[in-house]
Symmetry: C2
Subunit: 317 residues, 2 copies
């Protein structure tokens, strides 16, 4: 049985959208998952009866406090020990559950992931990625999208490995193609960081490096894992998100541009930390919560964290 913790108080539409997501998840007959719904017990119990969720598929863990979206992460985590996020990390750290999901305060989730769960041995910096929709319906993975604004070449080399393992085991690419986000196609192009990263990726036997990827190719099916520092990655992600807003405002209905609704993907896990942690978008709706639970279950089933650990042991030896 996979035990997944879900912060019911996180996100702008808590706990309603989280409950809807739980219902949608179990509608697909997920008999090997038990959910720990963490949050205000009274509020959760008040709305649960309206939804069709198998009674033995979940437990409620009461959390009387909530870390609000704009609270200072470190301070809030320390002072609100009875918040859903603090309790979630406590349960995850003490092996009472296998994965933790929240659409709450992003900073508090990052601090919790990095300090109460910690990085896998050998991982210099954990990373967060985002999906990039392609016209053929598949999703690429862009790493990093903001956790690491300044990077060294070795960080990017590790993001490439972390992203490849996620793309292989969770996104089910056979041999994911890794591209270095850059401003020219040929080796030798780019800023100092990209120039120094290229040879590391080229020599890295753990990945299938295909070379530089320019901005115009990020949304095409050229590379499955797109590696860059978190500054460029974050600007690219938010720009791509804004394209969806523009198409909605302009009443453009198109199957591909509908895929730019990043909210529904529900967030990519923090890659490189010792246990599965997924940070959702603040505006997460039911589909996002359903997808996050699904990804968390898949991470546990495929033992992605174990595979990352093995991979970095090989690197270290």
């Amino acid at each position: 049985m996979i035990r997944i913790g879900l912060d019911m108080m996180g996100g702008d539409f808590a706990p309603l959208e989280a409950v809807k997501g739980v219902e949608a998840f179990f509608a697909d007959k997920q008999e090997n998952v038990h959910l720990l719904l963490i949050g205000d017990e009274a509020k959760i119990k008040e709305i649960l009866p309206d939804f069709n969720i198998p009674a033995n598929a979940y437990s409620i863990i009461h959390a009387p406090q909530v870390i609000e979206m704009h609270e200072h992460p470190t301070k809030a985590l320390k002072e609100k020990q009875q918040s859903s996020i603090a309790i979630g990390f406590h349960l995850l750290a003490s092996d009472k559950m296998d994965a933790f999901i929240s659409a709450g305060n992003t900073g508090a989730m990052m601090v919790g992931a990095l300090f109460s769960i910690k990085a896998i041995e050998g991982v210099l910096r954990p990373t967060i990625g985002a999906y990039m929709p392609r016209e053929n319906g598949t999703l690429g993975l862009l790493v990093d999208v903001g956790l690491n604004a300044d990077c060294k070449p070795e960080n990017l080399n590790q993001f490439a490995v972390l992203g490849s393992l996620f793309a292989k085991h969770i996104l089910k690419f056979d041999d994911p193609r890794v591209g270095l986000v850059n401003i020219g196609e040929e080796e030798g192009k780019g800023n100092i960081l990209a120039q120094a990263t290229f040879p590391l990726l080229k020599e890295n036997k753990q990945i299938n490096f295909i070379g530089n990827i320019e901005g115009r190719d990020i949304l095409l099916d050229k590379a499955d894992v797109l590696v860059c520092e978190g500054f460029t990655g974050n600007v690219v992600l938010k720009l791509a998100e804004s394209i969806h807003d523009i198409t909605k405002r302009r009443n453009i209905h198109d199957e591909h541009f509908d895929r730019f609704d990043f909210e529904k993907y529900g967030g990519v896990p923090v890659l490189g930390v010792a246990k599965p942690v997924i940070i959702g978008h603040g505006i997460s709706h039911a589909t996002a919560f359903k997808n996050m639970i699904r990804i968390a279950a898949l991470m546990k089933e495929t033992d992605l964290t174990g595979k990352i650990r093995e991979s970095f042991l090989v690197t270290a030896s």
Copy 2:
């Protein structure tokens, strides 16, 4: 009389599209402009009679050589002294003309602008920008978009001034709002470069700094001049260009997304060099050439270069 040099051999559709652009430009009764058409005289004369261009509005400058798109810039400029680009820079440097435009080898144009024309005194690094289309029909300016992949805070501070002067005098914004491209809204956010640049922009009395601009706001009417290093700027520009390709492929017809056809804007001048130099996109068509001639004329009329010079003299004193 404004004397503008146009490389007739530059671009994928040379010289036909350049000639079409010249015709379109003069269709608007531009009596104060004299064009120097630089290129293979026989080829130009062969097609000129098919177009309605006032005979006294141009002269042909014969250039027997062409720098091809994939030649090494410095080497080609040195060895092909009789190429249209080399002749163009020679005429510009010796005051035989007031501005030079080419859609040819980008590298050769940059080398020519930086080494035969040189930077204005006080400008540490000239920059190249690109237009960013907004839904209200106006254009913002993103600087730098690739000329300077690695930057110091002082470079970004200067790009802000150069971009503001262009936005004011050429794009006709009264008091252009300058935004720092960043990964968070508040001061203190960002990578080391952005963090160090923020206070410089805040204290800079020559610009109207409005703070950080996130990726999601680049295509909105929030800031008129968007400042970043050339790595992020180039990735953003090429990603935005690819959006137009996607809408075309998917047969989406929309007034706003049609503005993502960057080719038609025809290229932004190299800002900070001593004379007006405009580098066009390789795939430039007639509208692009027409717009480049128009911008070059406007740069001369408004004495943009002189205004940049004054501005940097003030800074230096």
